[in-house]
C-alpha cells in the first residue's frame, strides 16, 4: 500500500492546458491519484469552484490565474495533506451572507498554502477547524472601500497548530484573524493598510507572533479575550486616528511583549482589562501616547523599555493603576545619577498633568507644547496634586541603549 502510494506520488504531474488531455482543472483533479500533482499552466481559468477531496498537490505555473468572475469561491480543500502552490486567485466578488473565500480549507489536517497571490478577493484564505496547516509567502492584496465590503486576508476559525509565515497581507478587513485558534504561530509577515487590524486575536490562546511588521492599518494588532500570547520583535507603525492603536490588549491575561517597536502611532499600546502583562525591552518612539492603561488592568510589569519622542509616555484613566515600572529609559526624565550606577537617583513619574487633563478634554490637545502647559507640568512635578503617584519608575535607566536586564 505504502509502495503504491509512493509510486503514484512519483508519477508525472497532470498538466492542465487548454485543448490538452485535461482541459479543465476540475478534470485533472478528478483524475489525479492520491498524492499526485496537478500542474496548471499559464492562462486565466474560469470554472466552477474546485473541490480537492483527496490529498493532492495543486501547482500553478507562473501566470496561472483562477478567476472567480465576482461570483464564487475558487478552491475548497476538504482532504488532508493538500498543497496549493504558485497560483493567482482573483475576483471572488463580495458576499454579505456567506464568508466567501478564494481558498477555503475545512476540517483538514496538514494543508500547505505557499507562494500564491490573491487579488481582490473577499476572504483570501479561510481556514476552519484545520490542524497543522501552513500558510507561507503568499501575497494578498485588496482594494477595499468599507469594512463590511471586505473579509479578512487570512481567517482562521477553530484551527490548531497553524503557522502563518512570510506573507504580505494588504487591504482587507483584518490582515490575519484568529478566532478560537490554539497554538498559532505568526512569523515575519507584513500586514499593511488593512481597514481594521493588522492581526486580530479572538479567544485564541497559547499563540505567538514574532518579527511581523504592522504598518498603517486601522489599528496594528488587537489581542482580545485570549491568554498566553507571546509577542516578540514586531513593529507596530503609523496607526493614526482617534481609535487607532499600535497594539490593543483587551480582556487578556498572561501575555509577554518583548523587543517590539512602537512608532508613530496615535496610541502605541492600549491595555484594557489586561492581567499579568509582561512588557520588556520594547521601544516606544514618537507616539502620541506610548502607553495608555485603563483601570481594569492589573499586575502589569513594564521593565527595560525605551521611551523617546512620545508626546505622552504613560496615561492612565484612574488614580489606582495595577502596573509596575522599573529600569525603563525615559527621555523626559529630569533626574540625575550621582553614583553612576546607570539608574537615576530620583524616581520618575511618567504621567504628565497635561495628559490627565487631556483625558477629560481631548480638544485641549491643540495646546501641547505651549509654554503654559509646560509650566503646569513643571509645577505638578514639584507639587503633585492630580497625577497618580503610584505610576512610578523607581530605577529609571539613564542611557538609551537597551542592554538586557540580568
Amino acid at each position: 500500500m505504502l509502495l503504491t502510494t509512493l509510486l503514484l506520488a512519483l508519477q508525472a504531474p497532470l498538466v492542465v492546458t487548454p485543448g490538452g488531455v485535461y482541459p479543465t482543472i476540475a478534470a485533472a483533479v478528478a483524475a489525479a491519484p492520491d498524492g499526485g500533482t496537478v500542474r496548471v499552466t499559464r492562462g486565466v481559468w474560469r470554472e466552477p469552484t474546485i473541490r480537492l477531496e483527496r490529498p493532492i498537490r495543486l501547482l500553478g505555473e507562473p501566470g496561472a490565474v483562477l478567476d472567480g468572475e465576482g461570483a464564487r469561491e475558487l478552491v475548497v480543500i476538504l482532504a488532508p495533506d493538500v498543497t496549493v502552490e504558485g497560483l493567482t486567485f482573483r475576483n471572488t466578488g463580495n458576499s454579505y451572507h456567506e464568508d466567501r473565500a478564494a481558498l477555503h480549507a475545512d476540517e483538514v489536517v496538514g494543508c500547505v498554502i505557499v507562494r500564491n497571490r490573491f487579488e481582490d478577493t473577499f476572504f483570501a484564505i479561510y481556514l476552519s477547524r484545520t490542524t497543522s496547516c501552513i500558510v507561507r509567502e503568499n501575497v494578498v492584496i485588496g482594494h477595499p472601500t468599507t469594512e463590511s465590503a471586505t473579509g479578512n486576508a487570512v481567517h482562521s476559525w477553530g484551527s490548531r497548530e497553524l503557522r502563518i509565515e512570510g506573507n504580505r497581507l494588504e487591504g482587507h478587513r483584518d490582515g490575519v484573524y484568529l478566532e478560537f485558534t490554539r497554538h498559532a504561530t505568526v512569523i515575519d509577515n507584513h500586514s499593511t493598510k488593512n481597514l481594521r487590524y493588522g492581526l486580530h486575536f479572538m479567544y485564541s490562546d497559547s499563540s505567538s507572533y514574532t518579527g511581523n511588521e504592522f504598518r498603517g492599518n486601522g489599528s496594528g494588532v488587537a489581542v482580545m479575550y485570549s491568554h498566553d500570547v507571546q509577542m516578540v520583535n514586531n513593529r507596530f507603525l503609523d496607526n493614526r486616528g482617534a481609535t487607532a492603536y499600535g497594539l490593543l490588549l483587551k480582556e487578556i491575561a498572561d501575555v509577554h511583549l518583548t523587543g517590539n517597536e512602537f512608532g508613530n502611532n496615535t496610541t502605541g499600546l492600549l491595555a484594557d482589562g489586561a492581567e499579568r502583562v509582561q512588557v520588556r525591552d520594547n521601544r516606544f518612539t514618537r507616539n502620541g501616547w506610548a502607553i495608555r492603561l485603563l483601570a481594569s488592568t492589573s499586575d502589569g510589569v513594564f521593565a527595560n523599555n525605551t521611551f523617546s519622542g512620545n508626546s505622552f509616555d504613560v496615561a492612565v484613566n484612574s488614580r489606582t493603576v495595577g502596573a509596575e515600572f522599573a529600569g525603563n529609559f525615559w527621555d523626559s526624565y529630569r533626574g540625575w545619577d550621582l553614583d553612576h550606577d546607570g539608574t537615576g537617583d530620583v524616581p520618575h513619574h511618567p504621567v504628565r498633568l497635561f495628559g490627565t487633563l487631556v483625558e477629560r478634554a481631548p480638544a485641549a490637545l491643540t495646546l501641547q507644547r505651549s509654554l503654559f502647559v509646560r509650566a503646569l507640568d513643571a509645577a505638578e512635578r514639584v507639587l503633585p496634586v492630580l497625577t497618580p503617584r503610584q505610576v512610578v519608575d523607581n530605577a529609571p535607566r539613564m542611557t538609551r541603549d537597551a542592554g538586557r536586564m540580568p
Partner: protein, 263 residues
C-alpha cells in the same frame, strides 16, 4: 518707488547701527549650537528649537520693535520734515525694522544647522518650516510693536505694554483656552476653541509647527472637527493664511496711527 527704496535702505542702516540684530543672531546661533551639542540633533533639538521660535521670537519682535521705533524717532521726525508722503515713510520704517529682524532670527536659527550640514538632512523640511514660522512671527510682532510704540510715547510705558502683550500671547492666553476646555469639557467646544486659537498668532504658529512634527500623531484624538479643520495640506495653508492676516491687522492699525499722529 525709488523714494521708498532709498528710505528703506536708510532705515535698514539705522536698524543695523544699533548692533542689536547682529547680537541677536549670534545669541540664537549660540543657543542652537548648544542644543545640537547636548541633544545630538535628533527630534529633541527640534522640539527645543520650537520653544525658541515660539517664545523668544515674539519677545524679541515686541521688545526690539518697540525700542527701534523710539530709537528711530529723531530720524523719523527729520524725514517727516521732508516732502515725503507719510504712507511711504511708514512702509519704509516698518519694513526697514521688521525685515532685518526677521532675517537675523532666521540666520541665527539656521546657522548652526548649516555648519553642521544638517540643513538638508532628514529634518530639513521641518527646520525650514520652523525658520519660516519664526520669520512670520517676527513680522507680526514687529507690526504689533509699531502699534504700541506709536500710541505710547513714553519709552518705559511702551516697553511695559509690549512685555504685557507677550505675556498674554505666549502664556496666559493658553491658560484661558485650557480653562475653557476643562470647564466645558462635556460640550462641543471644538469650534470656539479653534476661534480662540485663531485669535492668537503665537497659537496659530504653534499649531502649524505641531502639524509638521511627529506630535501630529495626536491630532487624530482631538475630534473630527479639529482634525478636519487642521488636518491635511488645506489646514496648513489656512494657518499660513491666518498668520499673514495677522501681519496685516496690526500693520493697518499702525499705518493709520502713523498717518494721523502729531509728532
Amino acid at each position: 518707488m525709488t523714494t521708498t527704496l532709498r528710505l528703506l535702505l536708510l532705515v535698514v542702516r539705522e536698524s543695523l547701527r544699533g548692533r542689536w540684530l547682529i547680537g541677536l543672531a549670534l545669541l540664537l546661533a549660540a543657543l542652537g549650537e548648544l542644543l545640537l551639542r547636548f541633544s545630538g540633533g535628533g527630534p529633541t533639538t527640534l522640539v527645543s528649537l520650537l520653544d525658541v521660535v515660539l517664545i523668544l521670537t515674539p519677545l524679541i519682535g515686541l521688545v526690539v520693535g518697540t525700542m527701534q521705533v523710539h530709537h528711530a524717532r529723531e530720524v523719523t521726525e527729520l524725514l517727516l520734515a521732508q516732502p515725503i508722503a507719510r504712507g511711504r515713510l511708514f512702509v519704509a520704517l516698518y519694513l526697514g525694522t521688521a525685515i532685518p529682524l526677521a532675517v537675523s532670527v532666521v540666520v541665527g536659527l539656521l546657522a548652526p544647522f548649516a555648519w553642521h550640514g544638517l540643513l538638508f538632512g532628514a529634518d530639513g523640511m521641518q527646520l525650514l518650516g520652523l525658520a519660516g514660522a519664526a520669520a512670520l512671527l517676527a513680522l507680526i510682532t514687529t507690526a504689533m510693536a509699531f502699534v504700541i510704540a506709536l500710541r505710547a510715547d513714553d519709552r518705559v510705558r511702551a516697553l511695559g505694554i509690549a512685555l504685557g502683550i507677550w505675556l498674554v500671547t505666549a502664556v496666559l492666553w493658553d491658560g484661558i483656552i485650557l480653562l475653557t476646555a476643562m470647564l466645558l469639557a462635556d460640550r462641543p467646544i471644538e469650534v470656539p476653541l479653534l476661534i480662540m486659537l485663531a485669535l492668537n498668532p503665537l497659537d496659530i504658529a504653534r499649531v502649524l509647527l505641531l502639524l509638521g512634527s511627529d506630535a501630529a500623531a495626536l491630532l487624530g484624538y482631538t475630534g473630527a472637527i479639529v482634525q478636519r479643520a487642521l488636518g491635511g495640506a488645506a489646514g496648513q495653508v489656512a494657518l499660513v493664511g491666518l498668520l499673514t492676516l495677522w501681519i496685516l491687522v496690526p500693520w493697518t492699525l499702525a499705518s493709520r496711527t502713523f498717518r494721523r499722529k502729531d509728532f
